[in-house]
Amino acid sequence: MCISVPMKVLEIKGQRGIADIGGMSREIDLRLLSQVKVGDYVIVHAGFALQRLDQNEAEETLSLLREVLAHEAPG
């Protein structure tokens, strides 16, 4: 029940929004977040968006990972 999934915000009307998950659209509640824009990915749990998914941080985490693995001793 604690499943929280990323969805893409398609429309915003006040504190309600429409978001896409795998080609299906769902109504979500946006009141827990400020500054959500159409096109953002948000983490949705029980119909409420809990956080934005930050694409820059997503890239940053991966580059850190690549860096760690690049230093790994071969074999």
Partner: protein, 366 residues
Amino acid sequence: MKHLDEYRNAEFCQDLSREIARVAGRREIALMEVCGTHTMAIFQHGIKDFLPPNVNLLSGPGCPVCVTPNAYLDRAVAYSRQDDVLLATFGDMLRVPGSSSSLIEERGRGADVRMVYSPADALELAKSYVHKKVVFLGIGFETTSPSVAAAIVDAHEQGVKNFFVLVGHKILPPALKVLVDDDQLRLHGLICPGHVSAITGCGIYEFLARDHGIACVVSGFEPTDILQSVLMLITQIVQEHIRVQNQYRRVVPDEGNPRARELVEEVFQPKESPWRGLGNIPDSGLVMRSSYMDHDAEANITAQVERTVEHAGCICGLILRGLKTPRDCSLFARSCTPEHPVGACMVSSEGTCAAHFRYGRFSNSA
């Protein structure tokens, strides 16, 4: 979504696996995950197969359905038996066995029990069925309580007088304290729950690192997220530089979501609460504040609740404390299966017994 493939990249996982083995060396390291979604992901992706035998991953009390005690379920069952009650719940709760019945059995006998996806849907039910008392089962950790608080505020503001919540919400840090105080469980590090932290922020784990020497990493849920977090934990432990780190920065800002916390504060206050397996823990649960008491199920709807009995032979409690695994339970996969669950840990897909049952037998390290 960009990047998702990379977070599932098998080559990265292999590389991380080698690096984990190298950094860990021969040290015996015990790590625990305390989030049902992590438990599920760890089994689903076979994460344990990527770890050397001296790095042990334990499951903790991270499944909200599992830690909810029988007494709560018995009350829910009692409500469902009343003709004027419509009971609305997240789907996972339907099949959890209470002392003598479950909500799905009651539904079979004619009770009006509905599965909802969001507490907002339960509020809509209350608006449609004005002659019924709509009781929503409010369970879950910090991830879930903001959405339930929002539905209660809406009910209050919109004057929906027939909307009630049976509050069973839990707060994680006090339970973590009980775990690390347990001498039988020698834990070195904690894979901290990403979506709880999305609300609370990373500060709630500070006391574990500072006072208890437990390495903490807030982790995402993809395979490389979990393995990277394990590597970060092991590095902390080996270098003896214990602290709280955040691997899941793309979703968890260090300060969490203050707006969501304010909403929870507005509606609820902390109180001692009973956990399956861990007993009563001070300040580990939420109760309704007096200003919203009109929507509290217990305060407004009386019920004939049966005497609570535990299921003989079920060791869910010990499993939730990381002291036993499902294989230690004599009922596991015999009389207790996902079709016929004896205990809560076999019901929810996030439950440790259910995860072992579903994926464990195909994995040599389960």
